[in-house]
Every structure is written in structure tokens, then in C-alpha cells.
Symmetry: C2
Subunit: 272 residues, 2 copies
């Protein structure tokens, strides 16, 4: 039977970075099964020892891998022992940066996510805006939007809008292309006049069919032929209005969102 390798992400803060890096690296080894767990907020030797005990108890069969974004040397030392494959995510880069910047690194946890009132306000406003402008609501405010996503019903506009708001601080509205838009090849004036910030999301007819069947099983709306037809009409409509179309099928929310911002030549309102 295939062996599972335990992987742990330890951090003085959320552990999000350790996990994201670990996941990206381990995904390059698709033949191996990994089991991952995070230990955030490792701040004291007691925290570190408790985490180490849990890690070793769970890993009697094979040596676990630990990715660490902890900055404090004496906390890392607790994990950096022969029973553990210890990977220090930051230390090597920090040494290199100290050398090339001719400066000393603080080595304090969580500095990159330190509270910044302006960033916080942008994210909160963008999230509120996107919730209030989901699914074609409040078109009157579209001039205020950083980005407007259009697409047929159930093409995946909402998750991308919410992601753009939460992670990039962009006020994103989304507008569903309804039958009338598709057949008359028209778009609301609020969309048209903000065209430079409009992108369309498309997907495969099969995926759309699956999503629609989940909601309205057996309906005409969910039929594969209806899906294919609407997607084709939407494609023509976008071509007519010179709106870029981004395909979301086979892509994660992150990829679709990044592709849209890239394609429109926009910049994230915040990067953090």
C-alpha cells in the first residue's frame, strides 16, 4: 500500500504562507500522497514543544516534513532535529536579503500582515460593494466599480467577484446576461459606458450544464443544448462589444481572477 507522508506547516502567525509554499512544492510530486496540517501562532517554546509532540506522535511510520515560516531561531531549533525533515522557508532568503540590502532583518512574526488601516478599509469596502452588486443588482453604481464581470447564469461570476474584492481590494460588480441581452445582443448602458473595466467569464457547455442541473434538474434552462447556445450567444455579444472573454473551466478562482486583471491591464487595488 502506498505510504502517506505527513507534512506540517508551522508559523509564528497564520501559517498561510508556509502552507501555500508547501502545497505548491508538493504538488510537483503527484505520485506521492501527503497529509497536511497547520500549526499557526507558534510564539513560545511551550507552543513549539506541544506542536512537536503532536507531530511526532502522528508520524511513527515515516519521517514527517515540516515547513517553517517561524523567524525565531530557538523556536525553529525545537523542530530541526533528526526525526524531522525540517525546511526553513525564510531563513535562507533573509540572509541573502540582509546581504544585498545591507540591512538587518527584524525577524518578527506576522509583519507582512500587520494591520494597515488603509488596506483594511479598501478590502472591507470592496467586499461590501461586491455583495451589494452581486447578480445584476444596483446597476446605478457601476461607475464606481473597479471591475464589472458579465456572463450567463451560473458561469461562476460570484466567486471570482468575491475573490477580487477580498484578495485584491477591487470593488467588483457582476451582471448576468439574461435571455433578452443574449437575443438582442445588447448590454445595459451602465456596462457599456464602463467597457474598459468589463470582462466576461465563460466556461464549457458541459460544466455549465452540470452547475445548472444541480439547481434546476431537468429544466430547459439546464439542458446541454441551451447551455451551448447561450455560451455561443454570449461569445458573439462580447466580440461585438470588444469585451475580453476569460474561460474559467479547468481553472481555479485565483487563476481566473488573476487572468482577468492581467487581460484588462488593471492593477490590484491592494497587494499585501
Amino acid at each position: 500500500m502506498e505510504k502517506t507522508i505527513n507534512v506540517y506547516y508551522i508559523s509564528g502567525n497564520t501559517g498561510i504562507l508556509a502552507r501555500n509554499l508547501g502545497k505548491a512544492l508538493l504538488a510537483q510530486f503527484p505520485g506521492i500522497t501527503f497529509h497536511g496540517e497547520s500549526f499557526p501562532f507558534i510564539r513560545t517554546e511551550e507552543d513549539a514543544r506541544a506542536a512537536r509532540r503532536r507531530i511526532l506522535t502522528q508520524s511513527l511510520d515515516s519521517r514527517p516534513i515540516v515547513f517553517s515560516t517561524v523567524f525565531v531561531r530557538k523556536l525553529n531549533d525545537i523542530f530541526n532535529t533528526p526525526e524531522i525533515h525540517f525546511l526553513n522557508v525564510c531563513e535562507g532568503f533573509l540572509l541573502r536579503l540582509e546581504y544585498l540590502l545591507e540591512a538587518r532583518a527584524l525577524r518578527l512574526p506576522g509583519s507582512s500582515r500587520q494591520h494597515d488601516d488603509m488596506i483594511m478599509a479598501k478590502r472591507v469596502n470592496a467586499i461590501q460593494f461586491s455583495i451589494a452588486h452581486d447578480d445584476g443588482t444596483n446597476l446605478k453604481d457601476y461607475d464606481e466599480a473597479d471591475l464589472i464581470l458579465i456572463g450567463v447564469s451560473r458561469s461562476g461570476k460570484t466567486p471570482v467577484s468575491i475573490y477580487l474584492a477580498t484578495q485584491m481590494g477591487m470593488k467588483t460588480a457582476n451582471y448576468p446576461l439574461v435571455e433578452e441581452d443574449l437575443q438582442r445582443r445588447r448590454l445595459p448602458p451602465e456596462v457599456i459606458r464602463n467597457r474598459g473595466r468589463v470582462a466576461a467569464i465563460s466556461t464549457s457547455a458541459r460544466m455549465l450544464h452540470v452547475f445548472r442541473e444541480n439547481r434546476y434538474k431537468g429544466s430547459r434552462y439546464a439542458r446541454l443544448a441551451t447551455c451551448a447556445e447561450e455560451l455561443e450567444q454570449a461569445r458573439e455579444l462580447c466580440q461585438l462589444h470588444k469585451i475580453p472573454v476569460i474561460i474559467s473551466s479547468g481553472r481555479s478562482i485565483e487563476e481566473t481572477a488573476t487572468q482577468i486583471v492581467h487581460e484588462l491591464g488593471l492593477k490590484a487595488a491592494i497587494t499585501f
Copy 2:
């Protein structure tokens, strides 16, 4: 005058990981000003050369820093030249993992964010749920929630709920503690009976005052004394019902969300 150092994040995919790592590292050097820019989707030598040209044109004054999560050696080579401080985020770790896992890494871009239907469905459902259960709506569905956040009005429940849904796939409802709840020290039965998955968000009276003033300037609701009183009443209510209270002031959305999941002993529905 202080010099700004240009920093670039290049990636075969979204560039999110390169940027997050770079930001975390550079935040350890608070005395230096950095200007960051991402070049996602570097897939061909042409993409790489175009990015390199832009980087060098923008960095005539000082040698730029490039963080790369590109996996393809010949693309990295285009950036790894004397004009650039080149930091390869993945290569060192991949070599170490190849050795300890006794396996060969694929070195394909974006594998960690490769489309996974199950993860996608969990995220989409969680986002839809959180939007439909924002601000005390649809209490009848609370038994279905993975997590329920409570707190006084404007304490920051919505952004944390949306983050938990988007990034951790957790169906998160949020419920505002209204005057009646606070004065009678009561909670709706839908909250009470799911207590193991309920956390409260609190903040400082000053922050709450600022947020409320933004919305209803000069109102009794926004007054500092009202804010302090409501926060104290909420604290007592939570103590009575044994609900953990997480302080959001001075914390990023990520930190608050991670702290809540950690405190309740829950696991993210997805980790990716």
C-alpha cells in the same frame, strides 16, 4: 532622499505565492521602501524577455530584486543575470524534496492551483452560503453552517465570514447582536444550539466608533460611549454562553479568521 528598491514577482501561474513570500520577507526590513510589481503567466521565452525588458527599463537607478516561482530553468536563466538580484523561490526546496522523497519533481507551473472540482464546489457553495447568510439573514439554515460569527454592528463580521468561505471553504453565517440581545443577554436558539461552532468578534471601542461614524455621523449609535457599552454587554453575553471572543482590532482579516478556526478547534474545509 530615500531610495526605493524595485521588486518583481515572476511566475508561470498567478504569482500569488511569489508575492506573498516576497512581501513577508521584505516586511522584515521596515527601514527600506520597496515598489512591487507582478508578472504572472510567464510561460514562454518571449514572455520572459518582455518582462525582463520592462524590469530593466524601470530600474535604471538601482539593481532590482526578482522573486521567481517559475519552474522552467531556461525561463529563470533569462532573469538570472548580473543586473538583477535573482531569488529563485522554489528550486532549492525542490532539490531538497527530490532528495528526501526519492522522486523527481514535475516542474510544471500552477499544479498547486490546478482545477479540482471538489474543492471548487466547496468554495463556491461556501461563498454562496455566506452571502445568503450575511448580517443575520436566514437563521433557519444555521444548522448547516460550518461556523457562525456573532458581534455588535460594524465589528467586522462580514469580511471575516467572506474570507473564511473563499479561502477555507467554510460556510460561514454572521449574526449581529442587536440591542434586544445585548440587554436581555439572549441569543437566538439557532445560535445557541450550534454553540460549538460559534465565535464572537470584538474590537476596540475606538475602532468601532470610527467605523460607525463613517456610516451614521453624529448618531447615538456611533457615539464612543455607546460603542464601549455595547462591546462590554457583548463580552458579558459571550461569557455567559461560553462563546470564545476574538479581538479583530490591530489584526488583518487573515489573522482574525485563522485565530477563530484555531480557537474553536475546527479545520478548514479545504486547504489548497
